[in-house]
Symmetry: C2
Subunit: 301 residues, 2 copies
């Protein structure tokens, strides 16, 4: 694996079909599942690692966001990454960036309501990675469903010749969706949060059994989560437009955001509607044992 | 020359170093000078031809903008274009585009004051052309100085590996800067407009002789233009930031916009400041005889 810090160097390593896994680092099995997907269909896999200030609001956790390049480099190399692109802030933003990319509408709902400017920050940095690295495919997690919708639409509208691929959420053995932010949780908080995925899984089963009412599916999640945690929102939404759906009558995702102490967690299940009207839920993938986030020095111990 | 209508076809024709000349068609010697610049330094020259609705305000001349694909195809082929990319509206905007690219600050001054949203429309469509065609160099006119600044900054901020090249303004033998919109002018209006370039050329000479006051240079232009025409603005501005300059102490352009009947014309001179403090003006290139815009069927007669 080559470690490069400039777009020009990264482009030089790109041979054949190029897959990009864009991350903010502190890798876990979610990111590595995208690397595996990239390996399966691309000749070159680039993993980018940059904690992007544009997508953090002033009151968010930019300064404290976990960073460990040595740890990430070992994990990326072991996973089969060809080029680890870890640009400095100066390479990414040699000047205060004046250009913003925004996807009207998509960025305002759900996460956008409490994270002002977040999705414009995401769309801008991903457009920059697409422009500067010229990948043929890019792999993102379904856990960040709204981000996936924003990036898919941005690439479509701007005619980037990039296939945007959404990979299933990877979960701890008790269901908690992997997120680099999970390491912020205290032991007590950690014991409460499996209620989030438990609620989603219950709703997934009820939907697969035939329930189509958005309100009912939302209520099922709330019934599981609310005794322990206070959700910011629980909503059934269209996967492309992010519009709230009252009935599960097309491809959708059921998602929620929960603030647990100082940490904000999101999770969802994807619903695919088959032509025969039945629903199949993507619950993600559950790990057998502890995740990389449970071990202080993964790849070294 | 190949005529193609999709991004994918255009990319297939791109061999070696690729130069893009982005136009709205109704070609004239200004566009063809960019083709020549592209030919000189690129292996493949793509000329794109699309009247971009995003950069027209509702009250502007989108419907009436001159269009003649047959005429443009002959001119492009004769000039040595390899691929004429003339996408349909459906190829460019299969859905109502939700994504916008905007360069904060740069698009609000000068032209942006009277053309709300214009530069975001320009930045968006050019980002799309850069994303979809992946050129190595792109050629634009210095006549649209603010557009050149917006595109240069957009490409820089988004890390497009594209060299943005600004070519000199091409002028009719009486000094009028070539613009597809010149064909809107009545004979009487046409007789008035050479005052625009006359004012700019006079200011250019005075600046080269040592004048550094922005107000004086502006007054020289106004003295020539105002007896006949009413400028919307006359301003000395920084070439990168488009900020008004009171003194000519760095690279700048002196520009004006004039409404003549129903037609809006813009023109400018570029000033380069040498290390010794002297100023060199780029007045553009003056044609010997009539331009393509003077002849009803260029390339056929």
């Amino acid at each position: 694996m080559e470690l490069v810090t400039t777009f020009a160097e990264a482009r030089k390593l790109a041979v054949g079909r190029v897959g990009l896994v864009a991350t903010m680092g502190y890798l876990h099995e979610g990111h590595l599942s995208h690397v595996a997907a990239g390996r399966a269909q691309c000749d070159t896999v680039i993993l980018s690692l940059f904690v992007n200030p544009l997508q953090f609001a002033p009151d968010e956790d930019l300064a404290g966001y976990p960073r460990d390049l040595a740890r990430d480099a070992i994990l990326a190399a072991d996973a089969g990454v060809d080029a680890l692109f870890a640009p400095s802030s100066t390479e990414m933003y040699p000047d205060e960036p004046m250009t913003r990319v925004a996807v009207a509408g998509l960025g305002d709902r759900l996460e956008g309501r409490s994270r002002q400017g977040h999705f414009s920050g995401v769309a801008t940095v991903v457009a920059k990675l697409f422009a500067g690295l010229q990948p043929d495919a890019a792999f993102f997690g379904r856990k960040d469903a709204q981000q996936l919708a924003v990036i898919t639409r941005m690439a479509h509208d701007l005619s980037f010749p990039v296939e945007v691929v959404g990979g299933p959420t990877v979960r701890e053995s008790d269901g908690l969706a992997l997120s680099s932010r999970n390491i912020y949780l205290s032991q007590e908080e950690r014991s409460l949060v499996p209620a989030i995925s438990r609620g989603l899984m219950r709703a997934a089963s009820v939907a697969e059994e035939g329930e189509r009412s958005g309100a009912t599916l939302v209520a099922i999640v709330r019934a599981e989560v609310e005794p322990r945690l206070e959700p910011e929102y629980v909503e059934l939404a269209d996967r492309e437009t992010i519009e709230t759906m009252t009935r599960l009558d097309r491809d959708a995702f059921l998602s929620l955001a929960v603030r647990v102490g100082a940490t904000r967690l999101i999770d969802n299940v994807f619903f695919d509607l088959s032509p025969d009207g039945s629903v199949v839920a993507d619950r993600g993938v559950v790990l057998d044992g502890p995740s990389l986030l449970d071990s202080p020095e993964p790849g070294r111990g």
